[in-house]
Subunit: 187 residues, 2 copies
């Protein structure tokens, strides 16, 4: 990114706050605007990386999860996923989260790439994984912060849920869009 | 969402904290897990909705922005966008942000739908808008927190930037994926 050096905001200092954010560590960086030279406080919510999984059964139906989401305050339809534990590889996190949230496993994993959930204030990436020919391995192993139902949806049902607005979690859509064509081209 | 009533975490109380999060108001809800009946503190980062824009010139090249992003600490390639001011309609926000960030305007706007940036802890939506046949209207009007360069990319260049990992802002990808086919189907 050196070719955009003139856009870089030079770091003038960082400070951590005890903000009890549960999921994040709050950091405030002092950054100098390269356009105005003015120094501003900028928020960073630090966390580990995340993973989510497009998990397909032998019929290419996608294993989805429904759970109450605290930000929006309603039950969402999503792909399985979670956080990468410190020191863990994202593939191992994907295998662990799929098994814990759904009881399913796979022997066929492909990396679909990573996205920045929001580079404006998050420092983490979300890694997308594809699991094919999944099979039932055990029971759900849910944490105390989880209550999850699982459901298999065909590509047609996924597309209908996306286009109808029932499935609108940006990171789930991001993963699914690398496997299925969810939208018709507009131009 | 009444059919998933059994997944709902009943609200036991909410409290606001002065956490100086700049972009957000921090709220902690006490929610009762329907599976275990245990009450837990859950984080909500409240904010207004956001918008972003796929802005196409008469040749269907996409007007993109480059800026230093404080979360990741490097210069990103994204669609123009920003926050919906209180009381503002998202279309008006889209028109305003496009003009402020790039100096361009359009008379042809179409709504592409909304996504949840992260329903686990955000309460807001990001609204995607398509602007076609954009034209230069004035100079950039940047805020003190902004330093932005603009750039036109063809669909081929967008796809290369996405598949090569240069463009990986989840919300920009979400908007672009509703206009262009960015990925080949995997299954």
């Amino acid at each position: 990114m050196d070719k955009f050096e003139e856009l870089k905001w030079e770091l003038q200092g960082s400070e951590y706050y005890d903000a009890e954010l549960i999921l994040f560590d709050k950091r405030i960086d002092k950054r100098k605007n390269p356009r105005t030279q003015k120094v501003l406080d900028r928020l960073v919510l630090e966390s580990v990386d995340w993973v989510n999984i497009v998990a397909l059964d032998p019929k290419n139906r996608s294993l989805m999860v429904r759970q109450f989401r605290f930000g929006v305050g309603y039950v969402t339809l999503e792909t399985p996923g979670g956080m990468v534990d410190p020191g863990e590889q994202s593939l191992d996190s994907a295998k662990r989260e799929l098994l814990e949230e759904t009881g399913f496993a796979s022997d066929e994993w492909s990396y679909l790439g990573a996205v920045e959930p929001n580079p404006a204030f998050h420092n983490h990436l979300c890694h997308h994984w594809l699991a094919q020919n999944i099979y039932k391995k055990g029971a759900q192993l849910l944490g105390e912060g989880e209550a999850i139902q699982i459901e298999f949806l065909s590509q047609k049902e996924i597309t209908a849920a996306v286009q109808g607005g029932e499935l609108k979690h940006a990171l789930a859509l991001s993963a699914l869009s690398r496997v299925f064509n969810l939208w018709d081209e507009k131009v």
